[in-house]
């Protein structure tokens, strides 16, 4: 590997109260990869993703994104870094009372003057781009509907459009389909996959179902109790590996 696009080194997170959510996690990701993070509930997936854009402050270890040492940045530096990292959430995290369009536009907040926000001003070219982003995820007709009027799948597509507005070079997706039914899950993940394939955006995505990880991941890393226990190709996860990651009693559940 040449210079890795994302590099995580000795990452450790101890929450106040003493929970060791991550312990000495290290891995590298090349530009354009679709890396799926798997692991049991509580294994530290969300914490790992949030340490990369510093929504969570790591206790120890270092992170680089595209040559920039994330863990050494000051507040302003973090803000600039976040502009280029899109994030998609399990609960969609839309501002429910705002129109879909405004939710998408918030993806651009890092670039616009603060006082525009006071009067909710958005220049026409940004509005057009937001509409285009909605077009890409197939819900342009919902632009002026309040976000909480949409179905779960539609809301997650708004989440993707919001990330798209950032023109990100990295997308962090924290169980983006865990609240959706199987069919909707696939359609949402296909949009993410398309961004990865067509635009070369690197994706780090945590998923619950191994079948989804196999289908969409170009690589899988697995966490168990905060430690990295697997790093390899999806096809390498056999039943032995599976029990290593999910525990001796686990049974693999298929998602169509």
């Amino acid at each position: 590997m040449a210079r890795p696009f994302l590099k995580v080194e000795g990452l450790t997170k101890v929450y106040p109260g003493g929970v060791r959510a991550l312990q000495d996690v290290s891995f590298e990701v090349a530009r354009g990869e679709f890396v799926v993070v798997i692991g049991l509930s509580g294994s530290g997936k969300s914490t790992l993703l949030r340490c990369i854009n510093r929504l969570v402050e790591p206790t120890a270890g270092r992170v680089w994104v595209d040559g920039v040492e994330v863990t050494a940045l000051d507040r302003e530096g973090v803000r600039r870094l976040r502009r280029e990292i899109g994030m998609i959430f399990q609960q969609f995290n839309l501002v429910r009372r705002l129109p879909v369009l405004t939710n998408v536009l918030t993806g651009r907040l890092g670039y616009v003057p603060a006082w525009w926000s006071l009067v909710n001003y958005w220049p026409p070219d940004l509005v057009q781009r937001a509409l285009d982003a909605l077009e890409r995820v197939g819900i342009r007709d919902k632009a002026y509907v309040r976000a909480d009027q949409l179905s779960g799948g539609q809301q997650q597509r708004v989440g993707i459009a919001r990330a798209l507005m950032q023109e990100p070079k990295l997308i962090l997706a924290d169980e983006p389909v865990a609240s959706l039914d199987p069919a909707t899950s696939h359609s949402v993940l296909q949009y993410v996959e398309e961004l990865n394939r067509r635009e070369g955006i690197t994706v780090l995505c945590s998923l619950h179902f191994l079948s989804l990880a196999r289908r969409y991941g170009t690589r899988v890393i697995a966490l168990k109790e905060g430690r990295l226990v697997f790093d390899g190709l999806p096809s390498e996860i056999d039943s032995h590996r599976f029990r290593q990651i999910y525990g001796e009693d686990a049974v693999e559940v298929e998602i169509a």
Binding site: N53, L55, R79, R80, L81, R82, R83, E84, I85, G86, M87, F89, Q91, F92, N93, L94, V95, R96, R97, L98, T102, T106, G107, R108, L109, G110, Y111, A114, S117, L118, N120, G159, R162, Q166
Partner: protein, 367 residues
């Protein structure tokens, strides 16, 4: 001591405390019966508020006069007329007045209305069988350089009209509602910024936490001061009147709204905040796009609710000099004008019930 002994001691102590309390507060249930006759007229008056009053109908004709200088123009009028021998007069001058077209055989009076509109009676008369009268009066010593001679003839029939008390009560009621509104507005202006600073979930870093602690302390201190005491202080400070009431309600509203608002902020969904932060938005942008949209309905609901409470409170605050209907009610009570007091009490009840209903409706709508 055994557990049983302890329990017995506790019971004895409670009985002793109760007996002592009964004595010091001079509870005498018998008085409720023996002295019932004292309260009867009061209750009766409270059930008969002064709302409408019967007043005799009158015919009124005013003749404007000038004291020195040219006589003011007359406006042509239909119906009864009054002519004066002179309309350019001086103090002490005799003027002859001739009235025509009034009701026949009715008592009347002639009133002098000075430049400020203050009336004083000059003479009484009775109209003749054709409804005319003839009268000589002296222009009284007066302020200003003009006045009016007004002939008032009392008709046999009477009319109902809203009582003077009702008018005064309505005026003060409006004052009270606006007093409460201004107090609420003052509360909102200070409570909004304080509530953001005093919301735990928005406090970041040591500075943020220090600001959070300070705001919380300020709110708690303000809240612990009774609005009645505030009103007393402000009545001394800016004088008895509605402004003192506005200040007292305002300060109290800052505290209670601030607490409600910051609790609303603390109860919001952190998800959207995290999402907007993750796009690289600044703190202010996060507040604008992720916090404010989530709290607006609650803020509106709390504010209307506060206004509602402030209307109630301002009646009590009026008792200690805060103006509004409360002050009027206290005056009526002190003068033992129970029927007038009843008018005020009914007005308060009505307005409070109405505010209650409206604020509940609006709250339903926005939340």
């Amino acid at each position: 001591m055994t557990g049983r002994g302890l329990r017995l001691a506790a019971v004895l102590l409670a009985v002793a405390a109760f007996a002592y309390g009964w004595r010091v507060t001079r509870i005498d249930l018998g008085e409720l019966v023996t002295k019932a006759h004292l309260v009867r007229p009061l209750v009766r008056d409270l059930l008969r508020p002064e709302i409408l009053e019967r007043v005799p109908r009158t015919q009124e004709v005013a003749v404007p006069v000038a004291l020195g200088g040219a006589p003011p123009p007359l406006s042509p009028a239909r119906g009864p007329r009054v002519e004066a021998s002179s309309r350019s007069v001086r103090v002490g001058q005799e003027v002859e007045l001739r009235g025509e077209g009034f009701a026949p055989g009715r008592p009347g009076r002639l009133v002098w209305r000075d430049a400020t509109g203050a009336p004083s009676q000059l003479a009484q008369f009775t109209t003749d069988a054709r409804g005319s009268f003839r009268l000589r009066v002296r222009i009284p010593d007066t302020l200003g350089d003009r006045g009016e001679l007004v002939a008032v003839v009392v008709l046999p029939e009477t009319a109902w009209r809203p009582s003077e008390t009702l008018r005064l009560v309505a005026e003060r009621m409006v004052e009270t509602v606006f007093l409460a509104l201004m107090g609420t507005a003052m509360g909102v202006v200070f409570a909004v910024p304080l509530s953001f600073l005093g919301a735990r979930n928005l406090a970041h870093g040591t500075v943020g936490l220090a600001v959070y602690g300070t705001s919380r302390t300020v709110l708690n201190v303000f809240r612990s001061v009774e609005p009645l005491i505030l009103a007393t202080v402000f009545a001394v400070w800016v004088g008895i009147g509605p402004f003192a009431g506005v200040l007292a309600l305002g300060v109290h509203s800052v505290a209670s709204l601030g607490k409600l608002y910051s609790e609303a902020i603390e109860a919001i969904d952190p998800g959207p905040i995290e999402a907007v932060e993750a796009t690289g938005a600044s703190r202010l942008q996060v507040i604008r796009y992720a916090v404010i949209p989530q709290i607006v309905p609650q803020f509106i609901a709390f504010t209307i609710y506060r206004w509602d409470i402030n209307v109630r409170m301002s009646t009590v605050i009026g008792f200690v000099g805060g103006g509004g209907i409360g002050f009027l009610l206290m005056q009526y009570i002190n003068l033992l004008l129970w029927q007038k007091a009843a008018t005020a009490v009914w007005a308060i009840t009505l307005v409070v019930a109405l505010m209650d209903y409206l604020s509940a409706r609006v709250r339903e709508r926005v939340v």
